[in-house]
Symmetry: C2
Subunit: 74 residues, 2 copies
């Protein structure tokens, strides 16, 4: 099965990539953009979803600075 | 509204982060993991979704090496 993990900077943690995009958009002519946050998209083929939570905690996300969510997508 | 953009390496494009995670998981005791792909999660607050496609094409994704999809999430 395919699992999708979304990893984001925790609220209050500096997100320099998001800031850079937020500043670049108006320079390209895009207006009306508020907050921008950039994280990671991780897609895995796994035999079972049982260990995905452990993979997130131990490797895929940094629990100090990041939050994550995951779902089975197919 | 909040828009979520998922950006992935195109099929056939080298994904060194995904390879690194795929190799690290068995070393941590996680088995049964096949392909791993790592991309970017971008979440934006926008006034209208009209310009999101243009933002993806012009800034958020590299059309040579990456594919993207987006959706309004709230």
């Amino acid at each position: 099965m395919k699992v999708r993990v979304l990893v984001r900077p925790k609220r209050g943690i500096l997100d320099p990539q998001g800031e850079a995009v937020k500043r670049a958009l108006p320079a390209l002519g895009f207006s009306g953009v508020g907050a921008v946050h950039i994280g990671r998209l991780i897609e895995l083929e796994v035999e079972s979803a049982d260990e995905v939570e452990g993979m997130c905690r131990r490797l895929l996300a940094n629990p100090t600075t990041e939050e994550y969510e995951w779902e089975v997508v197919s």
